[in-house]
Point group: C3
Chain length 319, copies 3
């Protein structure tokens, strides 16, 4: 789509060269065919060096736009991005007419759906009622259980188990907001990548990235009814127990254990070999190698002591 | 069904005119074809003016039954209602022989099911494996993702997104209880109404009303793995983050935000423009316009201070 | 499979007679065709009397192996069990060629799948998109709602309601761990048994047992989005409210009520007629007949008082 057409949709002008734009991209990953937006000043340093072909920015950030990058001035770049995201969203059906490529050793049960462009490799089993979207790749030996859903463009590694009714790659929960309090949907243009030997529990949901990928690394095991937000990255060999919720862009190191019903806030980093006890709520970055609990989070041993102290104070009627 | 037949099923007598009864209804919404029940005295004033054709009441409430309303005296009106609810429940299949009416511009993918009496309007997409029950209406431009389920008689507005494996309109979790501790299922006779521009996350469940409707108003966005109980009403432009649970009959105003893993108790009202932080537990009615957190709930700023104070007291060994 | 073949897979030797082994079994339930493993010394007394044909044990436990039981010495019996579990796992498809046996009064809707060896009795309804695995038995009058999934070998009682998108019998979340932090999947060889009059909510997940059965007894009602771990046993007429999570091997008595978003740790026993309030976290065995709340758990009345005291202390600036 031409930059001039994009600007017509937004009813905005642009400064610089008109050019072909293929879609949105994260600031650091963009090339000349991409458009980016800037609103959060924390990305200003990265933005100054973006290779993007066009940028939507506030008037006050105009001076930071690199040479050769066309400029759209906006009073709400995030909202404009949301409004444009629908234009660049992958078509949910009909994105390709290439028939799926299914290895002769794979088992596709009745009532399973495999979309165009999908690649199903050797010894894969797709059970009844499962949905494999367009252009999905499923590597050797993976089992997709009944009624599991994998949205378009996701990548599933070798020997994974996707248990019944899990959902891989649905749109993340992201909106831009108008002054009137209306929420404008951000179509999520990225995907989900599961590496090898990953297990996804029944009715667990893993959202696709806004741009780029939500990534679950090799050997990580996720229990039932877990929510993994858009753009999360889970390291190798993590254990995520049932009903845990990871907010968008949570980054977990390797061998992180999240106990049942635990949670993270958004944009949190958890170091390697960390254990979060059941119900632990992680709202700040934490170093690796320790055991935490509580909400607010503290060392597990402190949480235990503090709860015991509180209870004995209460019984002694000091509180 | 004749009132006399109903009484035969319950092995009870009635006082007043025998008449045709089409089903149960809420006390304030009933007309002469409906039967109602009274057990909670908080509804006594409304009950005195009901237009219902028949009422199941305790002996002590006989005097409050309006003229022209036939009377069934019961020692347990709630239990009798539950026992009768099965008789009046909509048939899950076979309620109509009218074929579904599907606009020519709509896309119905393979293995999707559209029940009799359903109306699928222009530019709707029903993806593979989705289930659209009998008499459901889906308005223009809505997308029903793979394996999503919409039970009978629900109404879905324009441009909604129902993500994969969500469930709209399953029976609420309501039972009457015998003296012996047996739970008697209350068949839910109402439905779910989603207004326009509503988004429902993957594996989210929204229960149908006992009588009347569970309602999600225009522009409200609900994340993955959320539970919305029977007879809830969510105002316009609410944001309900993942793994939140709203108990039955929760009433939310407009632009209410519920953080991740938050919850309400039953029959709670939350005012417009309220924000509940992650894990907040709402057990009383709250006014609008403020930010709350904690369980028990308090102002978010108080919760933060209190948690910090507790932690510093613990570190100073005062507790 | 011959014991000698099993040992070849593990690259281990055995002592005693070579014999035919049909699979793993719990120590107390094993007979001569079974192999067992011992790692936790708490089972030592039971182990001394096992009837198993073979046992995987640590060198130091060799002396406790009963006569007539062949011995495999291992440095990690639990890990060896996990490695072997895949060999003994039921085939997900193709375990039998016997066609399903469906009563003529049963309704099987389009796109439903009923596996070989399954038995569907009178007046059962299997709605569109539901999956009934091989050798499943569904007793009279039960309704399986759209897209619900029942894995192989599970047993569903009379007049049960399995609401849309629930999952019965998926593999429990159990792994053995190598020294390098890799998690080795334990294939779950047991099943799930639902007795009569059980209701399972939408998107609720009930895991199959490692060995033996996960059991939900007569009349128990489970709400939406609940997780029931492997080998749990729920007594008659329990009420489990939405988003509750029961960890593996939780044992609940009869008429236990678990409030919304409550939880148990693993291997917990809860006595008859206990009520756990919303968000209650049960980490120790508790007696029956009382009402509890909080995490750590305490009597509900104490939890209420303690929270009120804390709040008033905070307001008086004592903390």
């Amino acid at each position: 789509m031409r930059l001039s057409d994009i600007c017509e949709k937004l009813a905005r002008d642009y400064v610089g060269e008109d050019r072909e734009i293929s879609g949105f991209q994260a600031i650091q990953d963009a090339s000349s065919e991409h458009i980016v937006y800037l609103e959060n000043e924390k990305f200003l340093n990265v933005f100054k060096n973006t290779k993007a072909g066009a940028a939507i920015v506030l008037e006050k950030h105009r001076e930071f736009v690199p040479e050769n990058c066309s400029i759209i001035i906006s009073q709400n770049p995030h909202l404009d991005m949301a409004l444009l995201s629908e234009l660049f969203a992958a078509k949910i059906i009909g994105s390709t007419s290439k028939p799926p490529q299914i290895d002769s050793s794979a088992i596709i049960m009745p009532n399973a759906y495999v979309g165009n462009g999908a690649v199903i490799k050797a010894n894969v089993t797709v059970m009844a009622g499962a949905y494999i979207g367009e252009n999905v790749v499923v590597e050797e030996g993976t089992i997709i259980y009944p009624n599991a859903v994998v949205y378009n463009n996701c990548v599933i590694g070798k020997k994974c188990h996707l248990l019944a009714n899990c959902v891989i790659g649905s749109d993340g929960f992201g909106y831009a907001h108008t002054k009137e309090g209306v929420h404008v949907k951000i179509y999520h243009l990225g995907n989900v990548i599961l590496e090898d030997d990953v297990e996804i529990g029944a009715c667990t949901t893993i959202d696709r990235a806004v741009f780029g990928s939500t990534v679950i690394k090799k050997g990580t095991k996720i229990d039932n009814l877990v929510q993994i937000g858009h753009n999360c990255e889970l390291g190798e060999h993590c254990i995520i127990v049932s009903q845990t919720g990871l907010a968008g862009s949570s980054i977990l190191g390797r061998n992180v254990v999240m106990g049942g019903q635990s949670a993270t806030g958004g944009h949190i980093k958890i170091g390697d070999f960390t254990t979060i006890g059941g119900r632990g709520g992680v709202s700040k970055n934490i170093d690796g190698g320790k055991v935490y609990a509580g909400f607010p989070l503290m060392l597990h041993k402190d949480w235990l002591k503090m709860q015991m102290k509180l209870l004995s104070f209460f019984k002694e009627k000091k509180i």
